[in-house]
Amino acid sequence: MNDELQIKVQAFLDGELPEAEAREIGSLLARDADAAAMRAELKHTRAALVGFERRILVPETREFYFSKIQREIEREEASASAPARPQHSIFSFWRRALAVTGGVAALAVALLVVTNFGPRGAALEVALGSGEAFTYRNYESGATLVWLSYPAENGLAENQPAATLQ
C-alpha cells in the first residue's frame, strides 16, 4: 500500500473523503488485509486519544492567576499609545519566581529565595517550610508582600474569625 493510499484510509476513517472516493476505499478495506490492518491501527490510536487529554490544573491560586492577567491587561491598556512594548512578559517574571520556589520546595529542604527589588530596596530573602511564595514590593507606599501558598484548609485564620481567632 503506497503513502497516498494509506492517507486516504485515514481520511476515510475521519470521514473526510468525498463520497466517490469513500466508496472506493470502503471496497479496498473489504478485500485488502493490509489496508484493513492500517485502518485498525489508526482507529485504535484515535480512540485512545479522544477523551484522554491530560488533566492538569493551574498550579496557582485563583487570586494570583487572575492578578497577573489583570495587571497585564492594565499594563497593556496603559501603554496602548506607547510604540515600544516590553520584551518580556510579566508572566515570565512570576513564573520564574514560582519555579524557583516550587522547585526547591519539591526537594523538601529549607529553601531560600532572594528577590532583589533593585537599587532602592534591599534584597528580600524568603525561606519556606514548604510550598511556594510570591513577592511584590510597592516602593511608593513602602509595602512589601510575601504571598505564601500555605493551604487555606490548614487555617492560619478561619472562615469565622470572630469565633476562632480571638
Binding site: 507606599s141 490548614n154 481567632l165
Partner: protein, 149 residues
C-alpha cells in the same frame, strides 16, 4: 585655671564617649497585626473592626483583590539588638521578629506551631511587611508588620 577647665572638659568628653560606647542600642518597635481579608461584609454580630486606615491604604497598594480588611489582633513588639521577640496573634498564628543589625530583621511566621515562612528584609520606619495566604471561602489571612520606631 585654664588647665582645670581643659581637664574638666576632657573628663566630660571622655565620659560622654564612654556612655555612648556602652549605652544599649535603642529598641526597634513594631506593630504586628493579624488581618482578615474578604470581599464580603462581616456578619453584624462580629466583634472585628476594620483594619486601621493606614494599613488599609498600604494593602490597597499591593496586588490584593479583597475589598475589606478586618483586624483580628494587634500586638506591639520592642526588639533589642540581636534579640528575638515573639508575638502570638491567634491560637494558630505566631510571629517572631529577630533583629539582625541596622534595619534588617528576620520574621518567622508559625502556623499551628510549624514554620510557614521566614522573611529577611530591611524594614525602615513607616514601611510595612505583609505575609499573606489564602483562607477558606476565597478569603485571606494577612500578617502585617509595621515598623513604628
Amino acid at each position: 585655671m585654664k588647665l582645670n577647665s581643659l581637664l574638666v572638659t576632657l573628663a566630660l568628653f571622655t565620659a560622654a564617649l564612654g556612655f555612648t560606647a556602652t549605652a544599649p542600642a535603642a529598641d526597634l518597635k513594631f506593630e504586628a497585626q493579624l488581618i482578615w481579608g474578604t470581599s464580603e461584609g462581616m456578619p453584624a454580630d462580629s466583634k472585628l473592626k476594620p483594619a486601621d486606615a493606614e494599613v488599609r491604604k498600604k494593602l490597597a497598594s499591593l496586588p490584593l483583590k479583597w475589598t475589606h480588611y478586618y483586624e483580628v489582633n494587634r500586638q506591639s513588639l520592642a526588639v533589642a539588638a540581636n534579640q528575638t521577640k515573639k508575638s502570638v496573634l491567634s491560637d494558630r498564628c505566631t510571629v517572631e521578629v529577630k533583629r539582625l543589625g541596622g534595619d534588617k530583621i528576620e520574621v518567622l511566621l508559625l502556623g499551628q506551631g510549624k514554620e510557614v515562612g521566614k522573611v529577611t528584609q530591611q524594614l525602615p520606619r513607616g514601611e510595612i511587611l505583609v505575609l499573606a495566604g489564602n483562607a477558606p471561602a476565597e478569603n485571606a489571612w494577612l500578617v502585617t508588620l509595621k515598623r513604628i520606631q
